[in-house]
């Protein structure tokens, strides 16, 4: 078995460029409801861009530099925007039953984006090196310790939390968001529920 050829055929079958970058979509996609996902990704891109600059300058820079503080503000409001749009996207896809017709994996990966995003934000708040960070770490330690996680994920250890925040979790979030996008393009957006009088409930590809 040639693994390269197998992978190529699999990608050709599951991910044709016509689906990855389509130039026509169902008319019902022309709705603001379908913008929440792209707005979430836009906020994520701004988060990563501002985060890269903050990381390059080191964790204490933004406390003493007006430019750094502004970049931190961009990072702060980006995360608020990220979760605002993400939750709207989550709710609207829930109300659409967007997991229908074989889209369960897309839903699961989307929820994982949400969960790992929460972890990324949590470690970010702990990495701020200010009172909020101190207090969240002090409060969070009991929850982590109570389930046996605190021994290995020490929220009071700035170095460990900073590593998680600027490298490990952003890489995972980015990979999950990329996979989520590929799954959405692979399957396409879900059809609306059948209109009254229409036959059929779900299509199993």
């Amino acid at each position: 078995m040639n693994l390269t050829a197998t992978l190529r055929e699999r990608l050709r079958h599951d991910l044709p460029l016509d689906d990855v970058l389509p130039d026509e979509l169902p008319a019902y996609v022309h709705s603001y409801v379908y913008l929440f996902g792209i707005a979430t990704i836009a906020a994520l891109v701004i988060l990563i861009m501002s985060g890269i600059v903050l990381a390059m300058a080191g964790p204490t820079w933004w406390h003493v530099s007006p430019v750094g503080h502004f970049l931190n503000s961009v990072h702060f409001w980006s995360v608020q925007a990220f979760f605002f749009f993400l939750v709207l996207h989550l709710w609207t896809t829930f109300f659409q039953g967007a997991w229908r017709d074989g889209r369960g994996a897309t839903w699961v990966v989307g929820v994982l984006c949400f969960l790992v995003g929460i972890g990324t934000a949590f470690t970010g708040y702990i990495s701020q090196q200010n009172f909020d960070a101190q207090w969240i770490a002090e409060q969070g330690k009991d929850a982590m310790n109570a389930i046996g996680v605190g021994a290995f994920f020490n929220v009071l250890n700035f170095g460990q939390m900073y590593d998680f925040h600027i490298v490990i979790l952003p890489v995972i979030v980015s990979a999950l968001v990329g996979l989520h996008l590929l799954l959405v393009r692979m399957r396409g957006v879900v059809r609306p529920y059948p209109a009254p009088g229409e036959p059929g409930e779900e299509v199993r590809p």
């Binding site: 050709r12 044709p16 689906d19 389509p22 130039d23 026509e24 008319a27 019902y28 022309h30 709705s31 409801v33 913008l35 707005a39 836009a42 906020a43 701004i46 933004w62 503080h69 502004f70 931190n72 503000s73 961009v74 980006s78 608020q80 925007a81 109300f95 659409q96 039953g97 017709d101 369960g104 699961v108 929820v111 969960l115 929460i118 200010n130 909020d132 101190q134 207090w135 002090e138 409060q139 009991d142 929850a143 310790n145 109570a146 389930i147 046996g148 996680v149 021994a151 250890n157 700035f158 396409g188 059809r191 609306p192 529920y193 209109a195 009088g197 229409e198 059929g200 299509v203 590809p205």
Partner: protein, 337 residues
């Protein structure tokens, strides 16, 4: 669009769409929004609470904390895993304690690590502290405990004179000069590095210095910012800024009286969140719940234009077809009604 997706959308009107343009416009709009908010509203950055600040502004709190670390009455000394083998804060779910199972990975001896160890550094420079430490080390455990108890009783009658703690005469032996030396070390700003005491030069671990503050000073400061658990705790932010609102369900758990009053509150809340997270993850396959959106009917609002068009007389409903395989050459086969 591939023939497979085209078949899936059979009977549905397809329209030209530019995903890349939409992404760029979205990026610009969100960028303007975020930059505007950042410029107009800035972001919170309340300075951290330091041991130095506590020693200077609340010396009695400092000394009470230090005595608790020395005589073992501080909650961390009996906390349990991952800090020690105590049981004071060990939580379990039914018969299982994941906290106990995880074991002691961050060993903390509060007396040695937070009081005696730092004092040995002070003793290098301060003969009176060195003498007090020699006396303390040479005494029996019972004698040490008696001195500590007497000092604790005397603290109740302490008078704050500026930045010093004035105590009535009593039989607390070397404990008074020891803790006075520790207070001096705290005021100098050197206690934190001494407490965190990394075996290497570079340290990024603040576990022990934060735990030193956690018994009294941190909660008092948090209460001023409306951040304590009964005030929805850490989902809030200092100042008038939004906090981690996405943690609302987690912090809601601590507002439930049955959870809040339980010695296993954290474990119960985390377990509840774990179960709810699993439900959210597996929603597509949970009978009943996976049909909830259809019952709720919000989709009629989301796709109202689609249903209006379908209801028009010219619309000819046709059921979707299963996705064909393998893919065929690109062709517009019945994509438009």
């Amino acid at each position: 669009m591939s023939p497979r997706q085209r078949a899936y959308y059979r009977g549905i009107t397809l329209e030209p769409y530019d995903l890349v343009k939409e992404g760029l416009i979205g990026f610009l709009l969100v960028g303007v929004l975020v930059l505007g908010l950042a410029a107009a509203l800035s972001s919170p950055d309340e300075p951290p609470l330091t041991v130095q600040h506590v020693a200077a502004t609340a010396p009695l709190v400092f000394v009470q904390t230090a005595l608790g670390e020395l005589n073992g009455t501080d909650s961390i000394n009996s906390y349990g895993p991952p800090y020690n083998s105590g049981s004071g804060s060990v939580q379990s779910l039914g018969p299982v304690s994941f906290q106990r199972l995880a074991g002691v990975h961050i060993p903390i001896d509060t007396a040695q690590g937070m009081v005696l160890g730092p004092l040995r550094r002070v003793a290098q420079l301060e003969p009176s502290v060195a003498a007090a430490l020699r006396t303390f080390d040479g005494a029996t455990l019972a004698r040490q405990a008696a001195w500590e108890a007497a000092y604790g009783v005397a603290l109740a009658k302490a008078r704050i004179q500026g930045t010093t703690v004035g105590l009535p005469a009593g039989g607390y032996g070397p404990v008074a000069p020891m803790l006075a030396g520790l207070l001096d070390l705290g005021r100098s700003g050197l206690l934190e590095p001494a407490v965190d005491n990394s075996p290497r030069i570079y340290s990024t671990d603040n576990t022990r210095s934060i735990l030193f503050l956690q018994s009294a000073a941190l909660p008092a400061q948090a209460a001023r910012f409306h951040l304590v658990g009964s005030q929805w705790g850490m989902m809030n932010e200092t100042g008038n800024y939004p906090g981690q609102a996405w943690l609302w369900l987690y912090t809601l758990g601590y507002q439930v009286p049955a959870y809040a009053s339980s010695p296993n509150a954290d474990a119960l809340v985390m377990a509840t969140i774990a179960v709810l997270t699993l439900v959210l993850l597996l929603l597509p396959w949970i009978p009943g719940l996976n049909r909830l959106p259809r019952l709720l009917g919000v989709y009629r609002l989301i796709w109202r234009d689609y249903y209006r068009d379908r209801a028009a007389p010219v619309a000819a409903p046709s059921p979707p077809a299963p996705m064909p395989s393998p893919p065929e050459p690109r062709a517009r086969t019945g994509g438009r009604p």
